[in-house]
């Protein structure tokens, strides 16, 4: 097995452990778009955990940066409007679609939710189609 596959598997196992901790202690799904969206419309008593989760995500990023700065390589080198458009689509789409890669793709599929399986197949298929098209039009190199 190539080392990249092993790393991907190991990282995936860590993510599986993380979402299991969230379920076991807090009884919650680790859906990152939903957690962020909830933090943007603060409800008393339901905000601190969301904010600290996001702080943890960023602190983990700093830890990774200290261990191996290479984890943040791979800039697409695309024009900046594409980053803005991508962010808008991801923000709007994940809330309209009730979840992203973590909530639907990991947590939903793990509890055998057909709804999440459908969402995951749709966003992966859309991503595959979009990359093919954007490459065709020279928007992605």
């Amino acid at each position: 097995m190539p080392v990249e596959w092993v790393n991907a598997l190991l990282g995936g196992v860590l993510i599986g452990i993380a979402v299991s901790m969230m379920l076991m202690f807090n009884g919650r799904v680790t859906g990152i778009s939903g957690i962020l969206n909830g933090a943007l419309s603060p409800v008393k008593g339901d905000t601190l955990w969301r904010v600290l989760f996001i702080v943890g995500l960023v602190l983990g990023g700093f830890a990774m940066r200290a261990l191996s700065p290479d984890v943040f390589k791979g800039d697409l080198g695309t024009e900046s409007w594409t980053t803005i458009a991508a962010g808008l689509l991801v923000g709007f789409g994940t809330i309209l679609g009730s979840g992203c890669t973590s909530g639907h793709g990991v947590c939903g599929i793990s509890r055998m939710s057909v709804r999440s399986l459908v969402a995951t197949m749709v966003f992966i298929a859309a991503g595959v189609g979009a990359v093919a098209l954007f490459r065709q039009f020279g928007i992605l190199n």
């Binding site: 791979g74 789409g93 990359v131």
Partner: protein
């Protein structure tokens, strides 16, 4: 602030931290790898499929074990989604998300973890993503979308 709420928040902090390590180790914080994973009709790099495989294999088992309990350890009840309907919103939203994922190479978690790179691109992405979420809220206030 209740003691339980503080404990919930500290758990969330730890979960976020471990999640970010998983994202970094797996390659999910490298947009070119993500685009390579989605580039099935070009030079496909399948490695990121193993992120989902690893996470789902673990959580398929732990989900069942954990849900045998009457309640979570630090909460009186479960907060797991119960909606089973396949709605137009689910499909349309996932479609838009997928297009944005392919265009930017970031989904929400890796984008926020990549803020630690202090590069401008993840920051621009995250700000735009937050604007997108507010835009949805504006649209939803008018249309009352059935999710």
């Amino acid at each position: 602030m209740g003691n339980a709420k503080m404990k919930n928040a500290l758990v969330a902090l730890a979960v976020g931290f471990v999640f970010a390590l998983g994202l970094g180790i797996s390659g999910m914080t490298q947009p070119s790898k993500v685009v390579g994973f989605l580039d099935v009709f070009g030079s496909w790099d399948p490695s990121l499929i193993f992120v989902m495989v690893g996470a789902i294999l673990v959580h398929l088992v732990t989900y069942r074990l954990i849900r045998r309990r009457a309640s979570p350890l630090l909460s009186p009840e479960w907060h797991v989604p119960t909606n089973k309907r396949i709605t137009p919103a689910l499909v349309a939203g996932s479609l838009l998300f997928g297009v944005g994922w392919g265009l930017g190479g970031f989904c929400p978690g890796p984008a926020m973890t990549s803020l630690a790179s202090l590069d401008s691109r993840p920051a621009v992405f995250v700000v735009s993503m937050i604007v997108g979420m507010y835009l949805f809220k504006l649209v939803d206030a008018k249309l009352k979308i059935q999710k």
